[in-house]
């Protein structure tokens, strides 16, 4: 199936001229208004208080996890046998308390946060890349190739991902990069579906035809027209993917099948905390709170982005 429907030269020229006129009018209006759609979206985002607040909190959490352990007196793996299982207190700088080996929980939570967030970002990057490539290709090619590629996506959806993830972890091992790979395998489908949909609708838009008729090279079309229109959905779905990925890692770690010692992550900490929560509930509650707050923030940011980029979609 041809990529673009071939029309007669006159038709193409006519629609090109119309598109040109439309673009000129649009540019004129934009010049009068003085704001690009991105600036508009940014303004709308900041007006959404939940989203704006969530962004600030998230940035704070990330900074804390990145920089905090360097500022705190305790190391995340230093066992202090004199200070085992202490509840949170202010005097000995164990603000979150200690675990049963005397390790400071605050530092461990922040270091665990680093790992969780890093896994989140890496897996999101990988699955977004895979998803965009898959979706854009399927949308571009259309026809049978598209149908086949989307069938694969449907299949991936039909499978209970956690079980396959457990299977993969069992077979392949629990090294850090393998965990990332495992998570990636199940996180790319949403992005692929959305990108494919967007590509399909872009393909049939007249300004693409107009650009081709005017002789704009394909590469310019892709980077000048297609990519900017994809950026919106990609941004939104990235913020949807990240919490899912962090959650998957946390579940795996909670089950004892994810990140292994000596590294730690929020999932591992919650696992450990759940085991001793009868005597040291803080060991469960602090990492759990950090994880929950982070996930919540991503959700609100995702909603805010979606509203900002497409305000009709309430």
């Amino acid at each position: 199936m041809p990529l673009w429907t071939r029309k007669s030269a006159t038709d193409a020229r006519r629609s090109a001229n119309e598109a040109l006129l439309g673009a000129l009018v649009g540019a004129g209006e934009a010049a009068l208004a003085g704001r690009s759609p991105w600036a508009d979206a940014r303004a709308r985002f900041w007006r959404n208080r939940a989203a704006a607040l969530s962004l600030c909190i998230l940035v704070a959490v990330v900074l804390l996890c990145a920089v905090g352990p360097l500022l705190l007196p305790h190391a995340f793996d230093s066992a202090d046998w004199d200070a085992m299982s202490l509840p949170p207190s202010l005097n000995n700088a164990h603000y979150f308390g200690t675990d049963d080996s005397g390790r400071d929980l605050l530092v461990r939570s922040l270091v665990g946060g680093r790992i969780s967030l890093m896994v989140g970002m890496l897996a999101t990057l990988a699955s977004a890349t895979l998803g965009i490539a898959w979706g854009a290709t399927a949308g571009f090619l259309g026809g049978r190739a598209d149908a086949l590629m989307m069938r694969v996506v449907d299949m991936m959806y039909a499978v209970p991902y956690l079980l396959i993830a457990i299977l993969m972890v069992t077979m392949l091992g629990r090294e850090f990069y393998l965990v990332v790979v495992t998570i990636t395998v199940f996180s790319w489908m949403d992005m692929a579906r959305v990108v494919r949909g967007q590509t399909l609708s872009l393909r049939s838009r007249e300004f693409i035809e107009a650009a081709r008729a005017l002789g704009v090279p394909t590469r310019r079309i892709i980077f000048g027209h297609v990519v900017p229109n994809l950026l919106g959905v990609v941004a939104v779905y990235t913020t949807v993917t990240v919490p899912g990925v962090i959650l998957t890692e946390s579940v795996l770690s909670f089950l004892g099948l994810g990140i292994q010692e000596p590294m730690t992550s929020w999932g591992v900490l919650i696992h450990d905390g759940a085991n001793v929560m009868e005597i040291s509930p803080w060991m469960l509650l602090f990492p759990a709170a950090l994880l929950s707050v982070t996930l919540y923030c991503f959700n609100y940011i995702g909603d805010g982005l979606r509203d900002a980029l497409d305000p009709k979609d309430v």
């Binding site: 499978v159 457990i166 299977l167 919490p243 004892g256 759940a274 469960l284 929950s292 996930l295």
Partner: protein
């Protein structure tokens, strides 16, 4: 209807085949796994594996034997336990998971539909805010956080229920796990039902029903419910699948001897064949469930005719 069913069933076969094949190939590729000559297993286990998986044959023959076994319902032999086949382990664990998981789905549908409907009919009331709040919480806070918190509150602080374990379907061990699953499901179902019913109530045909002088009760139950329930029905498939995921977590949190715990233990013990067999089983159940839901949807919506 019959040909529609048949077509849908046939459509699921490729998925199952792909999953089974991929898992099987992964098993072959695993170092130290049953197909690797470096495996370290006892003689008895080796004998079991030999019998089930025909390890001395060329790979494609092994694969066919495996498929054949599956079609006969034989899920394989355990890599670690010489005395148990996968089928036997499953037979002990399945009733537990089915009881809790199945019961949770039914209960969450009932409660979710009820709460969502009330929230839609009484917008901005207490019930409405409750449904929205639950929706938010259940969506963002993970189940393995809510579970231990439930245990903390009800078992440790209030001492009302046991913290976990199992005693042959005794109710007190079922309450908390089911509560957890129901909470998570109701969060989604309630929100979807609420949104769906609100939208249906704005339809033109509801206005016609009002113009006919019908009381609200009849309008909601007879005119609005069916179209409003459709999104919820299409939710059941993904919900069941995520229940399987939740079951793994729930059984770990509450130490229940179900399929989820079996898988996790199997993974921890590197009992490859057990995990493989369980994954195949659960995938079949998941795909089968999706199929049922599709058929139910088609039965409900008169516009879908074959």
């Amino acid at each position: 209807m019959g040909s529609y069913c048949l077509r849908r069933i046939l459509a699921t076969l490729p998925t199952l085949l792909v999953v089974v094949t991929v898992c099987y190939l992964m098993l072959h590729a695993t170092p130290g796994g049953p197909f690797d000559d470096e495996r370290k297993v006892s003689a008895v286990v080796l004998a079991n594996l030999q019998a089930k998986y025909h390890l001395d044959q060329p790979m494609w023959k092994q694969y066919l034997y495996y498929l054949n076994n599956l079609l006969h319902g034989d899920l394989g032999a355990s890599f670690r336990y010489a005395d148990w086949s996968v089928n036997e382990l499953v037979a002990k664990a399945l009733p537990v998971s089915a009881a809790i998981g199945g019961g949770a789905i039914v209960l969450s549908l009932l409660i979710g539909v009820l709460l969502g409907s009330v929230a839609a009919l009484r917008q901005n009331s207490a019930v409405d805010y409750l449904v929205m709040l639950m929706g938010n919480l259940g969506h963002a806070v993970p189940s393995f956080v809510i579970g231990p918190v439930l245990i903390l509150v009800f078992a440790v602080w209030l001492r009302l229920l046991p913290a976990g374990g199992w005693d042959d379907f005794a109710p007190r061990y079922i309450v908390l796990p089911m509560a957890l699953l129901v909470f998570i499901n109701v969060a989604t179902i309630g929100r979807v039902m609420r949104g769906s019913l609100i939208e249906v109530l704005h339809s033109n045909f509801i206005r016609t029903a009002r113009a006919k002088g019908l009381p609200t009760r009849i309008i909601v139950l007879r005119h609005a419910m069916k179209p409003a329930l459709l999104p919820v029905v299409s939710l059941i498939g993904p919900l069941a699948i995520s229940s399987i995921t939740s079951a793994v977590v729930t059984e770990t949190v509450f130490s229940l001897p179900g399929l989820g715990k079996l898988i996790v233990n199997g993974a921890a013990n590197r009992d490859y064949t057990l995990v493989l067999g369980l994954v195949v089983l659960v995938t079949v159940i998941a795909v089968g469930f999706n199929l049922l839901v599709d058929l139910a949807y088609a039965a409900l919506d008169p516009k879908i005719r074959y």
